[in-house]
């Protein structure tokens, strides 16, 4: 079942586009990574889903409810962490969370105590005196404290130390295990790689591709370095379909090959010569995403 579903969702600010023709489906119980460079339209999408922005055209549903008509019910079942976190600086963390729990008409004190202990967060200080990381923790507690069915998180680990990032990742995995859904906008690619089931990439206000993390990994390239006893004919490898770049070293007896997908053809070709050594290194997901960001292989999907 789709928790978030949009059809041709488009938002213009006057003449300048925020997001164009977004068709997106986020399924129940998954962690959906939403990636893209700054200004690509991630926050616009999120703020449109929450009805902070009125769509220029197109439509969307969350929990099957229309994002405009059903917004109050949607927000009741959603936890939100804004990317550009602003809070009431003169309140303490505890006052802030108490107020927001009251706006939900809930008593979340138990959950707040549990979460703040988990994050090692002292709630009885003024928010303006918190460090960036502690502010972020208050924001996260606010998003998690009512145990929402859907979490919409914009740059959630910004400012958190590695220990807290790990704690946060465990929390997300627990959320998924309970069948709840996470819409995660992030720049921290290893985090997305580790957590997300599926990933959508936006670039220049359009959704470029959506696929599972595994599929993205399948797209990944690897670098194969082979040292031969004698200098091989260069054409041997550059003619292969899977090889798209050949670099020669050591006066020509060492080849550095960039290979897309399987390296089977390369190995079979190399076996016809005397090989002194061979090493392979898989490019990580980061390289794949970077190529999408820059548009170098936007046709690869």
């Amino acid at each position: 079942m789709a928790v978030i579903n949009t059809q041709g969702l488009t938002k213009f600010y006057g003449d300048s586009p925020g997001i164009i023709d977004l068709d997106l489906e986020v399924r129940q119980g998954e962690i959906f990574g939403f990636l893209g460079p700054n200004g690509a339209g991630k926050s616009t999408t999120i703020r449109t889903l929450l009805n902070f922005l009125i769509p220029t055209r197109g439509s969307g549903t969350v929990f099957g409810l229309d994002i405009q008509k059903g917004t109050v019910d949607i927000r009741r079942r959603t936890g939100y962490l804004p990317g550009d976190l602003a809070m009431y600086d003169r309140m303490t963390g505890r006052e802030f969370l108490l107020y927001f729990a009251n706006l939900r008409g809930m008593d979340t004190s138990k959950k707040v105590a549990e979460l703040s202990e988990r994050f090692e967060l002292d709630l009885d200080r003024r928010i303006k005196d918190y460090s960036t990381g502690n502010r972020q923790k208050v924001g996260l507690v606010n998003a998690f404290m009512h145990e929402p069915e859907l979490l919409i998180l914009d740059e959630p680990t910004a400012g958190l130390d590695p220990l807290m990032q790990q704690e946060f990742q465990e929390m997300l995995e627990e959320v998924r295990a309970e069948g709840r859904t996470v819409f995660l906008s992030s720049h921290v690619l290893p985090e997305v790689e580790r957590l997300a089931d599926r990933v959508g990439i936006v670039r220049e206000q359009r959704l470029v591709t959506v696929d599972s993390v595994e599929a993205f990994k399948g797209l990944s390239r690897s670098t194969v370095t082979i040292r031969f006893a004698t200098v091989p004919e260069p054409d041997r490898f550059s003619n292969l379909d899977s090889v798209f770049d050949v670099d020669t070293r050591n006066g020509g007896d060492t080849l550095v090959l960039s290979v897309e997908g399987s390296i089977d053809a390369v190995i079979k070709q190399a076996a016809q010569c005397e090989v002194l050594s061979i090493s392979t290194r898989a490019d990580d997901l980061e390289d794949v995403f970077l190529s999408f960001y820059s548009g170098a292989s936007s046709d690869a999907s």
Binding site: T44, L50, L53, V72, R94, E95, L103, R126
Partner: protein, 557 residues
């Protein structure tokens, strides 16, 4: 303009400095334009002869020279309004030297650049001196231009000397602000320390004739050095040297304190205090019952400041009550003054019925309900709309509020409701103060009139608050809302006042909200006027527009 700390400071204040120059120029011209009326009226001369000398000195009036240009200007401009403008601007400049940047955490960035602290603060102080001089320079230029045409008969040296003195007075309090900012790192504390000192030293100087115990404080008050003699007539004073030297010592100490300061912590590191204390401290939840709703939170925000607003208008009201017996004793002089001055002059201050000034209703209204009172009340409501909604939208915290399961209109209506309640509380407090003042000074006011005037005042504030709300929701800009509403308030204020004497304005006068509030009768003399209903209606319409618009527009990015 962004080449150095010096030019950057000038650049930051370019609009403000322009505003102060315009304001100062208008005020000077306006006050000077009344001079011929005062000079040529025999009744004014009689009036000044009859006023008690202590009262005159408290307002900087010298009976021997008041009817000359030098006496009139030193009394009307340079003893009160001028210093207020000068010190207000100097203090805001002094706050910006280091404290504002420290609070905003931009000081860290600035000091990370390869510039020494001494250089940073010295350049900022120097730029502030240049900016502060905008006020006296504008006054001096205005006086030089108006001197001949109006017949002020001022000497050029006198004009220069008077304005140098005004500048020095401002720089002194600016330096105190900067030093307090270097010491505390907090803009609020810096401003508070400087303004408190300014009020206390002014009081010591102005009220010395009334109280013997002020003799010694009077000697050390910079205001005494400043007003010790009429500088238009005797342009040389040792007092100026003293102010200049004190200012330099304090400015020097602000530099010294700044070089020893831990940036963005609570205390300056003075030689004998090793500071390890962190500024954040544990605070138990406060007034949690108020945090149950958006309206409650809005009350929570102003749980302290509302008392300042109440206190401000209430003390104005009490002082006016207290002044009535003295004026009643001089009723003849009072009436003579009313007859002597043109009605236009009263109309400028909202007094559309000057004859009523010799009644307690008219007099007390004239001070508390016709100009300062409405000004403070409108600042409260329009400022409330600005801080509750437009600033929250701008900072992004409104996103957090809007992510909760509440319709947007609920958020808006809660905030408006709380603001209305706060306004009503202020009005209620003013009613109580009025009853007390009435009993204490025996002014014989009727209860329903005291209630009515405050109902009218509150509704006037809410009318402009509603208007600001509507403009904000339509334009999405808090700055635009405040600007349009203030401009509308100023224009309609004068339309009502001048409309009572200028025929061409009489047609539009009934459209002014100030006409509904004041009309031709002092608020303390008319109970609950049916026209107040129009003010309430305006507030409701403004809110309705805001709700309608706010429900279906984008929250700002």
């Amino acid at each position: 303009m962004l080449r150095s700390v010096f030019t950057k400071t000038l650049y930051d204040f370019r609009r403000q400095a322009m505003g102060w120059a315009i304001g100062t120029g208008v005020l000077t011209t306006w006050l000077v334009s009344f001079y011929p009326i005062i000079r040529d009226s025999d009744e004014m001369a009689d009036l000044f002869e009859q006023m008690p000398p202590q009262m005159m000195s408290a307002f900087g009036i010298d009976p021997d020279t008041i009817l000359t240009g030098a006496g009139y200007l030193s009394g009307q401009l340079y003893s009160f309004m001028g210093p207020i403008l000068m010190i207000a601007f100097a203090v805001s400049l002094g706050t910006a030297v280091t404290a504002t940047e420290e609070r905003n955490n931009t000081l860290d960035m600035l000091l990370a650049a390869p510039v020494s602290r001494i250089r940073v603060i010295s350049l900022k102080l120097a730029a502030s001196v240049l900016l502060a001089s905008v006020v006296p320079v504008t006054m001096a230029v205005s006086l030089l231009v108006l001197n001949e045409p109006v017949g002020l008969r001022l000497s050029v040296v006198g004009i220069i000397s008077m304005n140098v003195a005004l500048l020095l007075l401002g720089l002194l309090f600016g330096a105190i602000t900067a030093a307090a900012g270097s010491l505390t790192g907090k803009p609020g504390s810096a401003r508070g320390i400087a303004l408190t000192l300014a009020v206390l030293t002014w009081f010591a100087s102005a009220f010395e004739p009334f109280f013997d115990w002020l003799a010694i404080p009077n000697q050390v008050s910079p205001f005494t050095w400043y007003v010790g003699q009429n500088l238009f007539l005797e342009p040389w004073s040792m007092g100026l040297i003293w102010i200049a030297l004190t200012t330099m010592v304090i400015a020097g100490s602000s530099i010294w304190l700044f070089t020893r300061r831990d940036i963005a912590t609570e205390l300056a590191v003075l030689p004998d205090t090793a500071v390890t204390r962190r500024r954040s401290r544990t605070i138990s939840p406060r007034r949690v019952t108020l945090l149950r709703s958006v309206a409650g939170k809005t009350m929570w925000d102003r749980r302290r400041t509302i008392f300042y607003w109440m206190g401000g208008i209430a003390s104005l009201l009490l002082v006016t009550f207290a002044a009535w017996p003295a004026l009643a004793a001089n009723a003849v002089a009072m009436e003579a003054m009313v007859n002597a001055l043109p009605t236009e002059m009263f109309a400028m201050f909202g007094m559309t019925n000057p004859e009523s000034l010799s009644t307690p209703e008219g007099f007390i209204s004239s001070r508390a309900y016709l100009n300062m009172g409405p000004l403070i009340m409108i600042l409260f409501t329009v400022g409330g709309v600005s801080s509750l909604l437009s600033k929250e939208e701008q900072s992004g915290v409104l996103d957090m509020v809007a992510s909760n399961p509440l319709p947007r209109r609920t958020v808006l209506l809660h905030k408006v409701g709380a603001l209305t309640l706060q306004t009503a509380l202020i009005a209620l407090f003013l009613v109580i103060v009025a009853f007390a003042g009435n009993a204490l000074w025996d002014t014989g006011l009727v209860p329903i009139n005291m209630i009515g005037a405050n109902v009218g005042l509150a509704l006037l504030g809410l009318f402009f608050g509603g208007m600001a709300l509507a403009v904000w929701s339509l334009t999405q800009s808090g700055g635009t809302a405040v600007a349009i509403t203030s401009a509308f308030a100023v224009v309609t204020y004068f339309v009502n006042g001048l409309g009572s004497v200028v025929d061409s304005l009489a047609v539009v006068r009934p459209l002014s909200p100030f006409y509904w509030y004041i009309g031709d009768t002092p608020p303390l003399a008319k109970g609950i006027d049916p026209l107040y209903g129009l003010l309430a209606l305006g507030a409701v319409i403004g809110t309705a527009i805001a709700v309608w618009r706010f429900d279906k527009r984008d929250l700002a990015v």
